[in-house]
């Protein structure tokens, strides 16, 4: 079964992460406190807390991404049989994509795609 390689890779990756953590736990000196506790901000002293409210634009981008993610997942089986279904399949998929483009145009007109 060819997926055994995937499983082996997952195991290898997990053991590399766990190995790094375990070796650090065994070897590194343990001195917490002070400046080590502040959030890392490229060497700058951070102002305020690490927990900030994110722009709602991220959420809307994520939502749009998810919709077109599902679209891509559904296009994949169509792409596999593209040659055998021919023009009829192309038209069927075109209708599918057109309906989604209406949503994209709506979001665009609403200014979702504009960044601050």
């Amino acid at each position: 079964m060819e997926y055994l390689f995937v499983l082996a890779m997952v195991g290898l990756a997990a053991s590399m992460v766990a190995g790094g953590l375990i070796v650090a736990r065994l070897v590194a000196p343990h001195k917490p406190g002070g400046l080590k506790d502040i959030p890392y901000e490229c060497g700058e002293q951070p102002i305020g807390q690490a927990w900030i409210q994110f722009n709602v634009g991220y959420y809307l981008f994520g939502l749009l991404f998810l919709v077109f993610d599902v679209e891509a997942a559904l296009m994949y089986p169509w792409a596999v049989v593209f040659r055998s279904v021919g023009l009829a399949g192309l038209i069927e998929m075109a209708i599918f994509v057109l309906v989604l483009i209406i949503g994209l145009v709506y979001a665009w007109r609403k200014g979702v795609l504009e960044w601050v």
Binding site: L7, E44, G62, L74, I95
Partner: protein, 206 residues
């Protein structure tokens, strides 16, 4: 081919990890840890689908659930400002009710699984080219085809786009496009403009 014993060991190992991650997702007090547990759980259930030879389903699981929905959940968590939401301390009544309904659901699921008679599929070769079959069935206009549900999915996604846009932002004022929508009183002055001067940029980033 791998032996049945290896297969069984793999199945139980994967299942146990999935259950552990699901427990982490439910029990973690930190919401982001719970989201991480959910992500691992969904990713490993894709492994279970692969073991069932449902490769397309596994791919969709990774693509949509792990790559999309968990990211959306994490964004939703990060959108909330209140730090009370970061740690979850449910009331006792909520816990008892939740546990009761979970156990009831588990019992019903066990009963349903126990009483269903599963028949073994006769042709194990038929699942070889699975994605091809899905594609043909999706675009088939005949009585056994799924063309109408397929096109209905696009309408469902359209509703999701429009609904999400409408809920997340109503009609914002021109000078302030990214807020909850500018509907709240005094919102136009609540946040300093992001690109006015350097001081404000530093403040709003950190």
């Amino acid at each position: 081919m791998i032996s049945d014993a290896t297969y069984t060991v793999m199945f139980y190992g994967l299942s146990a990890t999935v259950i552990l991650l699901a427990l982490l997702a439910v029990n973690a007090r930190q919401l982001l840890r719970a989201a991480l547990g959910l992500m691992g759980m969904l990713a490993l259930s894709a492994g279970l689908y692969v073991m069932l030879r449902a490769e397309f389903l596994a791919g969709v699981q990774i693509l949509v659930y792990v790559g999309g929905i968990v990211v959306l959940i994490v964004f939703a968590i990060m959108l909330t400002r209140s730090s009370e939401l970061l740690e979850d301390h449910p009331a006792k009544l909520t816990r008892i009710l939740g546990a009761t309904f979970s156990i009831m659901f588990m019992l019903i699921a066990c009963y349903a699984l126990g009483t269903t008679k599963f028949t073994e599929s006769e042709s194990t070769q038929a699942v070889r080219d699975e994605v091809r079959d899905i594609g043909l069935a999706l675009l088939d206009r005949g009585a056994n085809g799924y063309l109408l549900p397929f096109e209905a999915i696009s309408l469902l996604l359209l509703v999701a786009v429009i609904g999400g846009t409408v809920v997340a932002r109503k009609t914002p004022p021109k000078h302030q496009p990214f807020t909850t929508g500018g509907d709240l009183r005094g919102e136009t002055v609540a946040h300093p403009p992001l690109v006015q001067d350097d001081e404000h940029v530093v403040e709003s980033k950190s």
